[in-house]
């Protein structure tokens, strides 16, 4: 299935755009997605850390993704 991924902050710079599409296997989870992204964008691995948000909530590695989810890459936050 095709998953649309929003990118913010330095993740947007790494992707070069503010949203990308990746092909994830059915029953793919956050860990699957991270592995895919890190292969395509090795600079992600150089970040201090990063999280994935699904439907505006921080998601754990084992969460299964569906096509209807809003998925976003959350690099280290620095608001305030």
């Amino acid at each position: 299935m095709e998953i649309n991924i929003l990118a913010f902050g330095i993740a947007k710079d790494i992707f070069g755009v503010s949203s990308i599409s990746v092909e994830v296997s059915e029953q793919g989870n956050i860990a699957t997605l991270k592995a895919l992204l890190e292969e395509r964008y090795p600079k992600l691995k150089q970040l201090a850390s990063y999280m994935v948000a699904v439907n505006n909530e921080y998601a754990e590695d084992k969460l299964i993704i569906t096509e209807r989810d809003e998925v976003a890459i959350i690099p280290p936050v620095s608001g305030g």
């Binding site: 505006n56 690099p75 936050v77 620095s78």
Partner: protein
Amino acid sequence: MQTQIEIHAEPLNIQQCIDWVMSPDSGGIDVFIGTVRNATKGKTVLKLEFEAYNKMAISEINKITKQAFKQWPVQKVLVHHRTGTLQVGEIPVIIAVSAAHRDAAFEACRYIIDTLKQTVPIWKKEFFEDGEVWVAAHP
């Protein structure tokens, strides 16, 4: 128990924020105002850019303010965060908390800004004379 949360690109208005949290049954208000500093680690800062994942940021700030109401007897809590380009001296964030007694106002305000900086999806890019950097992105 009232909350006002806003994220937008317009300049923040201190007086409006404080007026909103004031109430006849509060005895003390603590306000934290972040300002853009002219230097970081000895390097001159020219300007900052703030970007937010708005929907999620509002939702995360809402979690923080709910927790503040659970932990302290506070009356009104306001969090305004600005996005876009900010010059030195401008205000990226205002947090205002009113309470019957000052202990609760101070502690909740401190908790909110500390937690906001840890969990809310907002990002800051610092612009120097010789380049720019997303704060905290790299180890």
